[in-house]
Amino acid sequence: MEEEIRQFLIEGEQAGMRYSLGTPRSTTAATSGLQLGQRAGSSLEFREHRDYQAGDDLRRIDWNAYARSDKLTIKLFRDEISPHLDLVLDGSRSMALEGSGKLRATTGLAAVLAIAAENAGYTHKSWLLRDWCEPIANGSNRPSLWDNLEFDYRGNPVEGLARVPPKFRRQGMRALISDLLWLGEPSRVIQQLAQGASSILVVQVLAAADVDPPERGRVRLIDSETAEEREVLIDDRAIRRYRDALARHQQNWLRACRQAGAVQIEVVSEKIVSGWDLVELVKFGILKI
């Protein structure tokens, strides 16, 4: 397994060599500045005012403007940022779903982002989200040197994230690679990631079988994480209901991401690993050639 993961990481490294990390077109609502610095700076530069939104830092309210207009307004500054990427990998067992390309896509994408960050002058640190968000051994080095990557966690990653909040670099970019298939309020996770982040990227890695169940008939479904079983009859109507449920779930995440200014993209593992065509990430400005 370890060798296999290392092979995937090397594969991702090679794929990411020709990219550099870009800035997602949205920024976090919880961050102090709207615009992200392209390079390191030392001064705070006023940029503009905007209406207060829930979650904004109360310290940024412009009380003078309030006195003038009777509206809560906050000041936005061009903030000084550190070009750093905190890369969080979902360590759930479902990320290594048997018979799918999820493990290869997850580790490969992590390697692509890490290498692209290096290419863009970012530092990076990799985390594995299990019963708590733990740093990956050698996670600041090149992906091929990462160690102890294990995707066998059977619990809910949300709890792990809440139990021991990770010490992400302030004003850094944060990326979460996960299938997001767990129960829980998405905004809790996003808020956790958004604390002090300059931007957030959420990459949902799904297997082709997650997107479109291939089988019809009587099927005994086994949860890859909990081993819970459920015998259902899959027919056209059941598949339609499944797709609706997936779409609703993705909508919840998308809504939470939008509220926090995060960018969410979905990739199908089998599709992405066949040739490592990363055009979707380029289209969203996450990667630049």
Partner: protein, 585 residues
Amino acid sequence: MPVFTFPLALLGLLAAPALIYIYWLRSQARKRKVSSLLLWLEEKEMWEGGRSIHRLQTPLLFFLELLTILLLVIGAAGPMIKAGEGGSPLAIVLDDSYSMHGGNPESARILALQAIVKELRANRYEPLRLILAGESPQVLGEISTSEGAGTDQAVNLMNAWKCAMPAAKLEEAISFAFELGGERTRVLVITDHAPSEEPGDSRLQWWSFGSRRSNMAIVNATRNSVDLEDRVLLEIANLSETASSTTLTIEDDNQISGKTQDSLSLGAYETRRIILTLKPGSPPLRARLGGDMLSIDDQVVLVPGEHKAVRVDLRIENKELRQLVDKALQSTLNANTTVADPELIITDESESRAEMSSSWVLRIISEKDAASYLGPFVVDRAHRMSEGLALGGVVWGSGKSQAFPGSPIITAGNIPLLTDIERAGRHELRLRLRPDLSTLQETPNWPILISNLVNWRARTTPGLLQSNVRLGSDVTLAVESGIDQVEITEPQANPRKLPVSDGVFTVKAESVGVSHLRAGENRYSFAVNALAREESDLTRAAFGRWGNWVKSADLQWEYRNMSWAPLLLAMIVLAIHGWLTSRNK
């Protein structure tokens, strides 16, 4: 109860297990690992209460499909129901030969009885006739089944179905049954072998209850008194495709000469001949084989025979003619030429003193005015003198006059050649023959003619014609004048008295074993043995049913074809199936 025109179509019911298997395979859930059950929570589990539409849907479709198969198969089989309430006439022809006992206790007869009872209880036949097929057909009885007790009556009647005949002339019995029953009757043949040809779509059904078995049997047994000694011939056959062995026990009934027992090994279909010589007057001899699937042919009893030689007085002047007659007499074995108290006189005199005695006379008349006749020869086949004669190609030299005394037995056109005059039980036969113009004496017809005469005369002399007879053959006893009844006691039966006709008592040998006759003060014994190789051969037995009454054009008017009903129902069920399937998509 419906019957089917094409019962083979019922094999289509094999589709039902196939359908069940398909559904069974479909019901076997495949295992599939998924990232999470999170998105499947809306789907109800299969076992949850059975109120899920999926759970209801599958069994309903299954039962509809099963019903469709059933209806289609029934429709294809062509169900026919009787058009009216009345019963159909039926004649059951029962094979009365002893091979029906083969395989005792599960013999063909017992299996057949069970099947007949089942058939009579299932269907109504009016009237029901039972016909025994033995050497000749015999009506066992006629039953009206309308009173409901018809089956019991039939069973009672069939108690007389003993299966003790050495042959069953089924063809004759079938023809007889059709003649007896008329156009509407159907005939059911009960036997132990397959028909020579398939009955097809006729009024005939053929049910066989036999099964191929090996059998060791005594197929021939005779006992003759020759040259002051009794000679016994036994033929034992292994009627089997494999070699077999048994024991042969020979003993006399009086236990005088003791018992001998030998083992006997015979190859496939091998016949072994055993010849024994006994002192004249030895007691009845019993030969017995070790038991097998048919017991009736494992034992024979041979009683000492009474040698009945006819005293013949030859009064023929013509030397050439005398030689011809003498030679023919020698070939008959039971004629002694003598001049003292002759029973038969053969003479070439036109009239003689014999007319005054009780002797029979054969007068051979050679007329001067004669011609050679090539035919056409007309023969009275009912006369004892004509037995075995074949006159085709014979040249017969005879007188030309058409007027000749006596009843003609053989004529050449309108010229009498052999005539018979009977006077008080005494016969005088006149044979017109010119040997110099004839070829008759050079053909087998000549010794046959003389032999017929000697045998005929022997039959009328008091005593048994044969003491050891085969089952089913005639036992003939000539009695002295004045006796009009003979008492017969058969094995395991009470004595019964039967009439004598023309001084001769004849009875059919129907019971194996030693029987006794009493005619006046005289007592006789004869032995009956089952000696029919074809009946003992059980390797040709078969089990099966042939023929279909429903397909018979003669009987189809009695039935109404109901194929349309199941096919219509099948279409309705298929329509419901289609609607349910489209609704669920």
